[in-house]
Symmetry: T
Subunit: 156 residues, 12 copies
């Protein structure tokens, strides 16, 4: 059986792996939600919002890779399958169909807000068991919060 020499004791590993799996699911869903709105947004701000959403997609895709590979690095198998994402994401359901630019922006503010709240808890939870993982989560949080500001400012 495949076992990675994890640098962390068992108890710490449990905390860290939950944080990473949770972050993975949120980030995969964030990438799907942002793409969904990217395709469905309409209204005078179409082009700006359409492009801004792809910036989020690119961020989310890079971050999901970082956290999934961090999990593998610690010997914990990451799970980013569609059903897992659908069942455990921290982002609320996005309605189907066309979405007005203003609502698109509002929807992203809410989605990012939900993810950021959970990410900050993960930053706190991983500080003692694994500062290496915490450092990755802090950098991701900083980036998500920047996107969060930009959508808020756009509806300011």
């Amino acid at each position: 059986m495949y076992v990675v020499k994890s640098p962390l004791p068992e108890a710490d590993l449990k905390v860290v792996s939950e944080a990473l799996q949770g972050a993975l699911v949120d980030l995969v869903d964030l990438s799907l939600v942002a793409k969904q709105i990217h395709w469905n947004v309409i209204g005078p701000r179409f082009r700006s919002v359409h492009l801004q959403l792809d910036d989020v997609v690119e961020s989310a895709r890079q971050h999901m890779d970082t956290v999934a590979e961090r999990a593998s690095t610690l010997g914990v198998s990451p799970d980013g399958r569609a059903a897992t994402v659908a069942n455990s994401s921290g982002i609320g359901e996005i309605h189907a169909g066309w979405i007005k630019d203003e609502d698109a922006v509002g929807s992203m503010v809410d989605s990012l807000n939900a993810v950021i709240g959970r990410m900050r808890e993960r930053v706190a939870a991983t500080e003692t068991p694994d500062p290496v993982t915490q450092d990755l989560l802090i950098a991701i949080t900083a980036d998500l919060e920047k996107h969060h500001w930009m959508f808020q400012a756009a509806n300011g």
Copy 2:
């Protein structure tokens, strides 16, 4: 209410939009499945398979954008949300956890096979109602079949 001036009559549009929505779901799932295995593969061929899977991810992400934006172009709202993908993808369930390189390759052969079969049906279905959409689906099929070969050859 937002209505796009679609160049297709209603009946044709229905056929085409079903083909595009189906293709979208398959391609989003393909990108998630390939990433899942990319993170979980182990074995002597780890590096080759790990990299080969990212080629599939890149293809799938480009193709999903193409079909979703084609749907929007025809005035049909695309749906690429996690739950929709989880419920309607043509790819069978992938087991969680580490996966041996040989099984990883086999799993990709099966997943691509499932998608290709459905894509070929969509190519046939769209020929008359919209050769423009058909042309996009043909190009996607050609690319998926090339990936399919490469994984088969790798287990040959």
Copy 3:
């Protein structure tokens, strides 16, 4: 006298060359119309529309080169001179002077709509006489329809 060894019989060539010459004129005019509005647009969406129009210009310029060189390839001299364009373009007249962003977007929706309708006829007309030409026209149509969606969405 210069005669190209055309791979098509005379009757087929006539159909195909009319399609190509028509497409050429429409595409040259589309590039000029989009530039005209690019320079004259005003209003809060100025920057978005200004940039979006240059995407159309770039597309139109590439496509006009493709169709003109396809005509030459078949031994038919293409005609993209200003007077020919002014006289036979399928795009209606654009008013001179400053244009509000909303009207600019509407004007592009109409212009693209006019060209797309004619391109679809050309796709149908060339299918039997020359599938090679048809394939080029299909790809151009797909691209124009994508621009068409983006402007519609922007006024959605």
Copy 4:
């Protein structure tokens, strides 16, 4: 009504805006003429002339953008529509159909000569009312004259 805070008094503005509108029309036409010959040239020097013409097209397209945006900058709406170009260009009519490489070169010498003569008058006319506009026109003239030399040398 949209009015730009022009840095120029009314009388000066009139002179400058005529120079810019004239330059715009000549440059749009130059780009169309060079493309027309690019597609229709034949003869042993085909490849050289074909490529050299695209250098002119690229120059003309950049310069037309410069002068049109300079007009907008001064609060004067530029007009680069096909009919306007067909009616007021300083370049004589180019015959339709295939053109021998030697004649193609000669035709470009004549076309550039016509535009350069008018550009030099515009340089002189704008010196006092607006040295900023003059500076742009001088740079464009230098570039056109360089193309002019290259075609003359090629028929030398």
Copy 5:
């Protein structure tokens, strides 16, 4: 024994694989013929023809890769060995030794003409059994015909 899950029934596969093998041989030979002339051309148009031939080489090399990998994709082993090419190419024999630029151009017109004629037959033959393969062959044909024009124009 290695067997690819081909998406085509046996009879269709036979037609398609013959088309692909034939195209492969023609394209490999085209790349060798163009290089041969690239090295042996002399005369006042040396540099133009020398460079133009390398454009053909680059095209032919990309296309041969496309058709060979398409064959592999369908489970048919491609054969691009020197002897196979020498025996079954559709291009007539090229004489050894220096070749005047005018004759070099004429030789390429003939070689391309021979290949194009066979490619058009393959396009027709593959339409029903495999539109995916046909689409690749159409794109290759379009590119070869463009090269064909350019050499004809150069001797025009």
Copy 6:
């Protein structure tokens, strides 16, 4: 003591150095003002204005380098320190705090207008004493006026 061999006589040098020092201060301040608004802008046009302001920052930074190094070239020490800028800039005070997108655009129109007026005086003043310096100032003025147009058009 360090003395540069200036190509200008003393009296001319005085005029030119005042023009350059004034331009330097205006351009440094323009870069700070544009960044300030870049960080504080809110409203539906957030993204467009945010990006457009960085175009101004980039222009201003390049131009400030040009004029400062031109001063050094003529043997005159340039002064671009914060206090100097705060005391002698030609741009009026910008209010602190968040700024609505429409006001942001208006504020840039005013700031650019103030700088352009002074730059045109410098262009006039340097014509006789140093055409080399004048040429640099003309190019900077052309660029600032283009930004000026774009912000006016955005509030048009």
Copy 7:
């Protein structure tokens, strides 16, 4: 009124926002001081110091953007205007006029030393209220300290 959903409680936010505003002012001033010396340095080490100073300018500009946007992200309006910088920067006054290379290096050692001391206090102050902000400040401090070493080594 525009209010950002800040992830921090009020008291924490006050500490963090003071740290960010202080950092912003120091970094803007650092960029101006380094440019000032970049333009005024003389002596045998001119080229080395001239280039080394632009490395500092580039760093300072990137860091000022990071901290200002971090403030906006937390819902605090950043203030980087010239007068604010002139009044509250932690860098002592730089004398006007030419500066010998050795003094230029010494001046940068002092300026960087002043900023680094304050940055280390901000790193300490933000640790508890916002580790995300702290992480950004740590990275900036590391970079400034590296520049500090390089100037010290250059006068070593």
Copy 8:
């Protein structure tokens, strides 16, 4: 005598400098060990392992530069000479001669494991005396652990 103004008190500096010197030696040796195996590996996985080892070399070289320059930044002379490395590296001796791919991978797992254990101790040791140094060491640890996973997975 050359003394850097270190931002750390003497006691803290001692701890930090030992951590940095230790990290430097480990990283230089890691780069040499990985190159040694890169040149000597044989077996069916030759190419994968050969390339994967160069990824480690590149990482190790970047990290060694970071820690050595951090030491210099704190006023501590770094020592990366061959004899120092040979005497104090934390990596066990690598046998000379050809090495089978499987053993090569195992050897890298062990080498990375040894370095990671020591890096984690350094992360802990530097937290209080210098969070800036700690932050650099955390990032290096994260990267080494990722390489560690990849080699473990490859023997999984």
Copy 9:
């Protein structure tokens, strides 16, 4: 008749031209053989071998151009036609059909071995008559021997 001013006397030229013609044929065949196996390889090392073979193709294509143009430079017409290659290559026949990765590697070891042996003879033969040609052949030999090692190591 076209005669190049060759810098070599007749006898030397004969030796050198035979070396170059032989090298040309071997290198063209090497490029075809490597492509053939690139398309037909199967087995767990598929991806590694598939990519490694394209490195050989790229090398062989560059080298064949070098030697053919060296022949032309010396006034000797090079012959790289398919039939010439099929008849005079130093590489033994490669069997048609799918080839297991291990056999593919073995086949390349043999093919490279055959070419290298002949290249070393050419290096020896050209030393006295033309050190310039010899220098080119030495560089090609070094590169082929490096490929030779890599395939041997892969079957080690």
Copy 10:
């Protein structure tokens, strides 16, 4: 006989062509002088001066091309042959042999000073007969004066 249609009357052309021929000779010589010192400089500032001189070489080479092609553009044959340069350059003789860095810098200050003085006369002379040529000479002068400052500052 080859005659270019010059846009200038004979008398003006004479003035302008003398200015251009003089500029050409000075610039060719400047490129040779800077290279000469680039190869012969020694002393502690070797690397800085060695690199700085190549910046001058690059500038001089670009400018010489500009003025020579401007002459051709006006129908005047430019003369940049070694003997012409040796006989009519405005730069004084440079001594052969190694040159200390300080003297190298001084030598460049003198050489640039000589060329700049002559360029300023040419700027004045061409203002009336050809503002297009004048504009090119002004830009070259600005660049040479910047190099002049940098060498003066380096000996300041």
Copy 11:
């Protein structure tokens, strides 16, 4: 006095330094001759020859740098000043004024022929005293001979 530790004994050094100084002069002159013709060529092959000459200029400039720096490396001061070049170049005088394309090509054949003959003597002369220098001269000769072929072929 500056003395380089030359790796060569005095007698060998004398032979090698003469070869390098001779090569330097020839290559500087070749770059000037090729530029001279680049500016003065006329005729139907203008563009081809104009571009081909710049390839020679680029080669000559790189090679002159190589040989001059090789001389410096051996402790011998290189001399590439205009007068030295004018007096000792191996290339015969080029006539001033416009030159027909055919004569331009012939002139380059002669110039290259003259330089190549001397380079081959230098290759022979340096073999024993310094194989390192010889290797550089061989590579330069190979490149010049390739240019020589291309111009001969162009007049073939």
Copy 12:
């Protein structure tokens, strides 16, 4: 047991492999010595020397890869481990601690001198047994001698 088909007889191989192993050790050590000084240099020429040393590091790293892989190519296992380097390098010991720029340069002159002397012996030794290896060693020697000159010139 792994045995490479070496193209050299046993006796020749022994000479060549000693030359390669010696070169490998010298080059690895050169890269470490240059990095050591890169980190420890101080003084007014800090930046120039710091950068110049990284040029040596880059060269040494490329060359060590070349010689190690050449050894592997000939079937001889290369040994570049730290202890081997520490024990058999031809470079004398470098003192630990800060080093003044002048001494740094002197130290590099000595180190390069030591390596070059040995490389020249290897060039001589390998000429007969393997001209391919000799050619690689000649190119490396040329590059090292160029670095040697640049450091001597910098202390000239």
